[in-house]
Amino acid sequence: MALALMVFVLVALGFGRPRAITEGRWVFGMGVWFSLGVLSLILIAALWVGERILPHGPALEVRAHARQWAWSFSHPGAEGPVTSEGVLHIPAGRPVDVLITSTDVIHSFWVPQLGGKMDAIPGRENRLRLEAARPGTYEGLCAEFCGLEHAAMRFEVIAHDPAQWPPVSPEGPRP
């Protein structure tokens, strides 16, 4: 924002009287060095944040499988994986890796409040690290255009209290 303002002010000042300028200072000083400086700062910050949200260390693995136009999920239960339609169960307060696949076309798994987004591509498996800080229900949706009912391709993520993980029955008490 400050940058945009700076440019606007400079443009506005341009409408004053003509004045002598040094080409080098404008073109190289401002154009090259100044912009390079700002960009490197942003890039460093971005890489730092990016590194933090990347999968590090082990995590609980759950699966998300997309098809036109619905999601099915599975999480490890007491005896083997438990599958569910349209609802993903995860424990709160600990990292979870979602393994994302698709049967037909490209979809994209996105839970805005938990951050991150990853495409579901037929023939591939993608991994996305999530962590819900608090138990609760989070809205998710398909974020890659996938045909007629794309807009209706929504789902829920239910983060359970770590003490009650794994949930006895997926349809059990909602937090």
Partner: protein, 854 residues
Amino acid sequence: MNTPMNTPANTPLTPHDPASIPANPPQRALGLHRELDRVWRNAPGLRGQITAVSHTTLGLRFMVTAFLFFGIGGLLAMLIRAQLATPNGAFLDTALYNQIFTMHGSIMMFLFAIPMLEGLAMYLLPKMLGTRDLAFPRLSALGYWCYLLGGLILIAALLAGVAPGEGWFMYTPLSGKTYSPGINADVWLLGVTFVEISALSAAIELMVSILRLRAPGMKLTQMPLFAWYMLGTAAMMLAGFPPLILGSVLLEMERAFGWPFFDPERGGDPLLWQHLFWLFGHPEVYIIFLPAAGVLSTVIPVLCRTQIVGYGAIVAAILGMVFLSFGLWVHHMFAVGIPHLALAFFSAASMLVAVPTAVQIFAWIATLWRGRPELKLPMLYILGFFFTFVMGGLTGVMLAVVPFNWQAHDTAFVTAHLHYVLIGGFVFPMLAGVAWWMPLMSGRRRVRGLGEAAFWFILVGFHGTFFLMHLTGLMGMARRIPSYPENPEWTALNLSSSFFGFVMTIGFALFAIDLILQAGFGKRSVRNPWKAPSLDWAMALPPPNYNFASLPGPALQQAGAEAAMLALAKGEGLLPGAPRGRREILVTSVGTARPEHVAILPVNTGLPLLLALAISAFVLLMLAGLYTLAPLALIPVVTLIWIWARRAMAPLDATPIEVAPGLVLPVQPGDGGTLTRSGLVSLLFANGTFFASLLFGLAFISLVSPGPPRPLWPADRTVLLATGAVLALLAMAALGLPRALSHIETGRRAGAGLPVAFAANLLALALLLALGLGQLPDPTRHAADAVRAALVAYVGLHAAIATLFTAFALDQARRGELAPGRAGALRNAGLWQSYTLAAAAVTLAALWAQEAAS
């Protein structure tokens, strides 16, 4: 190419310093005008519209047609905004909504933005560079007709309700046969590829014209910045469009014949489409931006009564953008699961491209500071550009930062960013340019007041619409959805967005009315109303088809438009008038613009329209699924191209021409450095990127894609022998052609080299056919088989064209038309032959590597 050889036929006097070329004696301007006009003008009436090849006519026509398509695209945008105005908008159903936003995006990108910039460049460049037309006038016309017919196919599909609905980037597998069974996707693939022919031909045309048609002595380093921008654009188009064309061809083959390039079940890979698409799609943004920046760099200094600050730095910035933008395509694929290190690299590259942009922005601001800016209408649009584009750039940096992108990818935020960049970076500068050059194009003055009103409506409407969409995006509203939940914050924002969208539409309507009023009823404009120094204003208004009665040498280029205008009209420049009744222009050397020869341009002809119609017959047959009939349509295509090439030959009786006192130039350059040859080199460059993209596809499918393993292909002895024979035959032809050429140039007959080359090509073609039909594994079995077959088909196509090239030269030899200094057909055949041989050898090596890798 730079050093004309002296051949016995003509001994040109070539001064090393164009500045020393003396002036021609002045003549009566009116007499010259009549003489030139008779030769250069369009035929009267409707026939004139069909046969026109003049860059002035075609440039205008490109721009008018692009504006009409902009109107259609805008109408679709209004439908979108009407649908999104309320949460459960009920007036479009989902299928229709999908078609509408897909067509909106496709029309705006392919039928508005690209043709608009092509039209502007075609119209202006010859005028700015001081010449009379573009290098290949018939190609300009062909490009126009392909554009119009392709566009009409898309619009017809929209009206018939079978428009594509997969989004403007047509991701597979959604756009594959299984999930899009109708012809909707075929309409996109074939229609857009058809339109792409015009983009490629325009790119070749502009490239060659900028490099070879500049007025004598206008060094590359002195040419107007606009020409630099267009040079960069043309280069990017030559490198950027082939991957898209390849992708479309492959996807169409998958849809039509079941070759599984993108089908994961049979070893294909949907990501291959994404790579090919964005290999084009990202440079596309800069292809659109560069010409717009060219307009800014041209208009700002004149409106500030000063010179541009930092010419050299801007040229460097243009070159930097051209190279960097090709390193960026992956930034559209941040969410497909790409390794982190690669992501970091592409993030850095995405941000690096902001540096050349910043250089230009600060150069423009410095120009404003140095001069005394005048707040005329074009300046208003320039301010609109600054305001909008800088904000678009900021959101772009936000998107380039990976973690943020994960949040915002595919929301209304992206839609908003995209429109800030496209409308801020392209539409506003183009509107400035139109306002700027309208007096030139129409010869009339503007009606006061209306233009300013239009500007304010557009500015306020635009920001009202799209600023709010950033917010809805951040609140999590996805793009490409026809309805959304009844969330109170979303509802209000969307309604306001839609309201301002209609305000913007009113603005564009006012702008159009303003143009119509100006063209129809404006008072006659004085010459050079803006007091600009450049050559584009050194002519009568509206400009005659020949632009300049004589061509400006270095002195007149420096003199400023006012002084140059009179001297040029009186024929004091080079090559005055049209005393030989031919359309003549000067061809100069690439770097320093030393005059090399006089080129004779073709006259008005209906051939381009006929050829475009023949191509559209092919496209329509493909669309109808009549795959066996479609190749028949290629017969008229080839025949017409043959006629086209025969007509391109310079008349046999053309003698060297005295273009200025003591400076005699040949009509056929002794060293073969014709415009056609430069055009062919550009075409081969584009062809090379096409081939490289295909090899990339081969490597990607063989090495990167997961999926079922490639079935074995036990290539036996016959295959090895056959491929060896093909290579040997192509090499034989490649040796035979230069032999024939050296015979001709030393005054002998062509000899055996030419017929041998022809026979060798024909045989190679037959062998390739037999190989492809009999020996290769079924291409529908696995993607690896399909790519292999595609590569063989590519070589086969080139052998077929090489056969035609040699047949053409053989025909010329039979008619006795090949003579020293007149053997261009033979030289060009040789060039094509070498390329074919190289492509065949590389293909063989690549296929061998593919086998060895397994």
